[in-house]
Structure formats: structure tokens, C-alpha cells
Amino acid sequence: MVVSKNVERWSPLIVLAATLLLWQAIVAGFGIPDFIFPSPWQIGQQFIEFKGPLLEAAWKTFWVTMLGFGLSIVVGVLLGFLIGSSRLAYTALYPLMVAFNAVPKAAVVPILVVWFGIGLGPGILTAFLISFFPITVNIATGLATLEPELEDVLRVLGAKRWDVLVKVGLPRSMPYFYGSLKIAITLAFVGTVLAEMTAGDSGIGYLMQSAGSQQRMPLAFAGLVTIGAMAMAMYELFSWIEKRTTGWAHRGSQNH
């Protein structure tokens, strides 16, 4: 029992280490040149060599993403609140939102560049556009799937719509909200990098684009790893907050 628990705790690291070893072995074994597919070791060397620029680019990408993500939390929650609590708004807005969400964001970036120029604007907006939809949908679902009996119980007492929303609707949709944040934060990174690659002058996306065009594949891969690590860290942060604040929704996984 104790052993299996330890294995569970360390399993992500074990899998990571095994993947790196396998990767290194394949690259070394088949003699693949680094401008095609660099080995973890070469990528690691790039990290040390380009520590400064990588850190600077990562920081830039990070806060652009956070600005876009913050915007998508605000807009996503408000929109979700609106379409989750009013059937009219749901019917009226949902098809349009689905259509909008289906538009490839890579196609939107050039338009944003025309509007806002090269720089921060397109990055922030792309991160926002790509990540608000899951937040909206999840908040709306949480609010719209309220048990009718519970609503009756409260309405009989003279509860206003607002009371029902605040006392029941919002707490109930919190687990959905945190679930959506975990998806949205990873999407937001995708959006920022996308904008930086097509129309950026800084950030990880721009760095990878430049490195790629100079055939410096290990550095481009180092950029990829950086993005992955940042997204993973943010995901874990939201998981942690989720467990702390809405433990009641995860009771199945608790040990008691």
C-alpha cells in the first residue's frame, strides 16, 4: 500500500525520466543530426548557453499570456453568467459563440496585426480569444444544470433569482470554473505563442521562429520545452487552488 502510494506520487517524474532516456537513446543510436531532431542533452546545453535570452523571452510570453488569460476570465465569467442564467441569452448567443470559437485563431492573428500592429496587442488578444470559450461554457453549464427541486425549495421561500444565483448557482459552478481554468491557461499559452510566431518581435514564439529559420533546432526545442514547463506549472497551480477551495466536489478521490 505504502509502496504503491509512493509510486503514484513519483510516477510523473518516472515517466518523464524514462521518456528523456528513450529519446536520448533513439537520437544517439540512429545518429540523427541535431538540426533534424536534437537530443535532450543538446537541448539542455542550449538552455545553459542561452539562459538569458530564453528567460527574457519566457517572462515576456508569460505576462502577455497572463494579461490575455485575465481578460478571458473576466469576459468568460460574465458571458457564462449571462447565458447560464437566462434562457433567452443562451438561445440567442450560443450559436454565434460556437461559430466564433470554430474560427482558427491562426487566421485571426494577421487581422489583429492590421488593427493593432506588431507587438503586444495581437499576443494578448489571441491568448484571450482562444481561451475564453471554455470558461464561458463551463460557468454556463454550472448555472444551467441547477436541480429544479432545489430552485423550487428556494423560490417558495421568496428567493429572488439573484439569491438563487449567489447561494446556489455560483458555488455550484465553481468546480466547473476551475476545470475550465486548467484548460484555458494551456490554450492561452498556445494563443500567445501563435501570435508571437506570426507577428511578434519578442517572446518564446518569436525566439523559436528565429531559431527555426537559422536551422538552430536545439534552441527551437528549448523554446518548446519552456512553453510546456510554464503551462504545466500554471496547470498545477490551478489544480492546487481547485483542490483547496472545492474539495467537496472531489470527495471520491479523498481518502477517508
Partner: protein, 269 residues
């Protein structure tokens, strides 16, 4: 004067159904005295839950009038408490916090909530203890068994001291032993607090054991077809359910339901 007075009440759920003459309940008349415990039995889908919505003011009748406590019902009635088959407790609140929920909403408690919170909490705890939930007040609902959750749900319906308690198949999802325990809990609460109860159920034994009067409802159209006064003396012990008299009443009601099921389909509209 009767406490609850339904006078020839008809309800169609929307205008379209009204135009077609499709009513969920038809021509319902009943009078309930203050403190009386009535039960409504009938096959599923016969409009029992519709009746509940009328009695709470969540729905207004298409025809006829509903008068409760001397006033015509025009909107949600704050003097009622409700409980359903699903306990529907909020999982992020402890049991005692769940029971206190109505006090955060209904006047006059709402405006006093901040200043009298301690007092209200003591009251909620006392109520929980009275139904045998002592020691579980600070547990979360999902840590309780189904029967305990249902007890808490009934406490939530009663905490604001309603004059009328509406129960929609509250024990339907429980096992037979737990159900009988809860019958007794409800019987004792009713005896102590003398509120009105309208119990909707499809369990005939339950209705006969608990109620002063049992109404049988037919299906499509949803009408009251039988009114049966239960003249078993109170307080009633569970033992009463094994007496011939009790069994005879249950049998009699069963006969009415059976007859309705056979003929119910061919009743001319």
C-alpha cells in the same frame, strides 16, 4: 374556516394546452383544517406534483381559486416548507449550514440573520438533534447516509417554522426500515409542532400511517376520486400497521387505485 381551500381548481401548464383543453389537474376541490395531515396518493404521472406547485403558489390555477390561511394564493407562499424525494442538500455546506439556508432567504429571519446568527444556529442544531442527527451537524451531506440526508432535508423545510409542510415522495428512495424510522420522525415532528402537512406519495401504507385524510387521485385527467378519513387513534405506533383495521384501509385504497388503473384510460375527456 379551512386553512387550505381549493375551490374547483384546474391547471393547464401553458396556453396551448389550455386551448386544447389538456389539463394537468381538473376540478380539484379540497378543504384542509389547521394542523391537519393529508396525504395524496395515486399512480405516477397523475398530477400529484402539480398539486404541490399549486399549493405553494409556484403555479397559479387556470381556473378556480386556491385560498390558504384566509388569503388567495397569488405568488410563492413563504409560510410553506418543501422537501422532495432527492434531499438536494448543498454539498459545499455542512449539514447545519444547509438547514440554516432558508433563514438566509425568508423574512423576517433574513434581515435579522447577521445579528441573530448564533441563535438561529442553535435552533437549527436543536432541530437536527430532534430528528436523531446529533453529532452529524458539522458533517457534510455527502458524509451522511441517504436516510440522514433526508432527515436533514426535512429539517431544512421546517427551520423557518412554516405553517405548512409539503412533502413530495420524500421517502421514496429509502429502504423499508429507514422509511419506517422516518415515518416516526415525521409523526413526532407533526405532533410537536402542529403544522399542516400535505404528503404526496405512492406508498399506501405510508399515507394511512401518517395522514388524517387520504385523497386518491386518478391519472389523466388528474382528479380527486376518493377521500378517505383515517380514523386510527393518535399517537400511532408502528405496531398499528400490523392491525387488521390498518390493513383493511390500505386494502380498500388499493382497490380504488386498481379500479382507476383499469378504467383510467377509457375515461371520456
Amino acid at each position: 374556516m379551512a386553512f387550505v381551500d381549493f375551490d374547483k381548481v384546474w391547471l393547464a401548464y401553458n396556453d396551448e394546452l389550455l386551448a386544447q383543453g389538456q389539463f394537468a389537474v381538473e376540478d380539484i376541490s379540497l378543504k384542509v383544517n389547521e394542523g391537519e395531515f393529508i396525504a395524496i396518493v395515486g399512480p405516477s404521472g397523475c398530477g400529484k406534483s402539480t398539486f404541490m406547485k399549486l399549493a405553494t403558489g409556484l403555479r397559479r390555477p387556470s381556473k378556480g381559486t386556491v385560498v390558504i390561511d384566509g388569503k388567495e394564493v397569488t405568488g410563492p407562499l413563504k409560510i410553506t416548507g418543501m422537501a422532495f424525494q432527492a434531499p438536494s442538500l448543498l454539498p459545499w455546506r455542512t449539514t447545519v449550514q444547509n438547514v440554516m439556508l432558508p433563514l438566509e432567504i425568508v423574512e423576517p429571519y433574513r434581515s435579522q440573520y447577521k445579528s441573530k446568527k448564533k441563535e438561529f444556529e442553535a435552533k437549527a442544531r436543536a432541530l437536527l438533534q430532534s430528528v436523531g442527527l446529533a453529532g452529524y451537524e458539522d458533517k457534510f451531506p455527502w458524509q451522511l447516509s441517504g436516510g440522514m440526508q433526508q432527515r436533514a432535508s426535512i429539517c431544512r423545510a421546517l427551520v423557518h417554522e412554516p405553517k405548512m409542510l409539503l412533502l413530495d415522495e420524500p421517502f421514496g428512495a429509502l429502504d423499508a426500515f429507514t422509511r419506517e424510522e422516518l415515518w416516526c420522525a415525521l409523526r413526532d415532528l407533526h405532533a410537536a409542532q402542529k403544522f399542516n402537512v400535505i404528503l404526496v406519495t405512492h406508498d399506501l401504507r405510508e399515507s394511512v400511517f401518517l395522514a388524517d385524510t387520504v385523497y386518491c387521485m386518478s391519472k389523466s385527467p388528474g382528479r380527486f376520486v376518493v377521500k378517505r378519513e383515517i380514523d386510527l387513534p393518535r399517537p400511532r405506533d408502528l405496531e398499528v400497521t400490523y392491525t387488521p383495521k390498518f390493513t383493511d384501509i390500505v386494502h380498500e385504497l388499493r382497490g380504488h387505485i386498481g379500479a382507476m388503473r383499469k378504467t383510467g384510460v377509457s375515461v371520456p375527456q
